[in-house]
């Protein structure tokens, strides 16, 4: 049975899909078009490598589809997607080196520097942080995720997240100041 709802791609969204909360192809395409750019930006800043970010982004969407998540709440679906992506990033760094807490692209590591996207000051500042700090900052200040959501995504306790976020923010601010950026720039213009 076909409902009146139709995705931008022209593929009709079926009633069954809408009722069950599981995405059909059209619903997936709509969800993808709404979230993919932000997801890629998140992965790019977390990983520093554009092609790896694209690979993990596709894997994250694939796992979301395979999970059979039943929800009509787009916010919940998006939070779940970011949780999958966060786990993929964590797995990636764990596979590469056991000391996940260490920044993967410290100066003096030319093999990694070559793959890192250093086009912006923020990318440079982010690349000096530990992957977890990058993820935490991005989820909190770009995606606007709650502390509970971030803690769940990163496998941390909500109580300890506040202090960890504060420390990550302090480190990031230090790096930005080091690059000559001043506070409250955006509002002053």
């Amino acid at each position: 049975m076909i409902s009146m709802a139709t995705a931008a791609s022209g593929i009709p969204i079926t009633d069954t899909a809408l009722a069950s909360g599981v995405m059909d192809e059209a619903a997936f395409q709509v969800f993808y078009s709404q979230t993919a750019r932000r997801m890629r930006a998140y992965l790019l800043r977390s990983l520093g490598d554009p092609s790896l970010a694209d690979d993990l982004m596709q894997e994250a969407y694939l796992r979301l589809l395979r999970s059979g998540l039943k929800t009509e709440d787009e916010g919940h679906r998006k939070a779940y997607l970011f949780r999958i992506a966060t786990n993929l990033v964590r797995d990636h760094f764990r596979r590469r080196r056991p000391e996940y807490e260490m920044p993967p692209d410290l100066p003096g590591d030319p093999g990694l520097q070559n793959t890192v996207d250093h086009r912006s000051d923020v990318a440079v500042a982010m690349s000096g942080l530990a992957p977890r700090d990058r993820q935490m900052l991005w989820l909190a200040y770009v995606e606007g995720s709650s502390h509970q959501e971030i803690a769940k995504a990163l496998g941390l306790k909500t109580a300890s997240l506040k202090s960890m976020l504060s420390r990550a923010r302090h480190r990031m601010a230090d790096r930005l100041r080091g690059l000559g950026l001043k506070p409250i720039e955006r509002g002053e213009a």
Binding site: Y32, R37, P50, R66, W138, L181, P183, I184, G187, E188
Partner: protein
């Protein structure tokens, strides 16, 4: 750890530039909020810059097709797994039957053989007339089928 009560407002202002005098004054005197403002503004500008210079996204159709293929693969794997377990169970049952009831069956069948004229039995091939051989043959066929299934699942 206590969070500054102005933090939410500071984050919003740093994102969209909606600074008030009071917020500006607060950010100037609160180190945590000044850092928050700096980080949020930098990240927001970064997101905007990335949106301007964004290469095309991978086609969602490919992701969708890959997920369907994987789902189909998993379904067939599950179906084959059930068949394989049934076959294994059959093999175990047949082996048990062969071990526990084989001698008795042989005696029973040899007893039945006395009722049939010996000349008629002599005309039958040995393989068909021997019940143990029949059981053995079934066992071999089932084992080969189980092996074949295992290999097709693995590949």
């Amino acid at each position: 750890m206590s969070v500054c009560p102005f933090e939410v407002e500071i984050v919003t202002a740093a994102r969209d530039g909606s600074w008030t005098e009071a917020l500006r004054d607060h950010a100037a005197s609160c180190l945590g909020c000044a850092e928050t403002a700096l980080v949020v503004a930098a990240l927001t500008e970064d997101v905007d810059a990335m949106a301007l210079d964004d290469p095309p996204l991978p086609d969602p159709k490919i992701i969708w097709i890959r997920s369907r293929l994987k789902a189909r693969q998993e379904r067939s794997f599950k179906a084959v797994r059930v068949v394989t377990w049934v076959q294994r169970l059959t093999i175990v049952c047949l082996t048990a039957v062969a071990i526990f009831f084989g001698p008795g069956l042989r005696e029973l069948l040899s007893g039945l053989g006395t009722l049939i004229p010996t000349a008629a039995l002599a005309d039958l091939p040995l393989l068909i007339s021997g019940p143990t051989a029949v059981l053995g043959l079934t066992f071999i066929v089932m084992s080969l089928m189980a092996l074949w299934n295992e290999r097709s699942v693995a590949s």
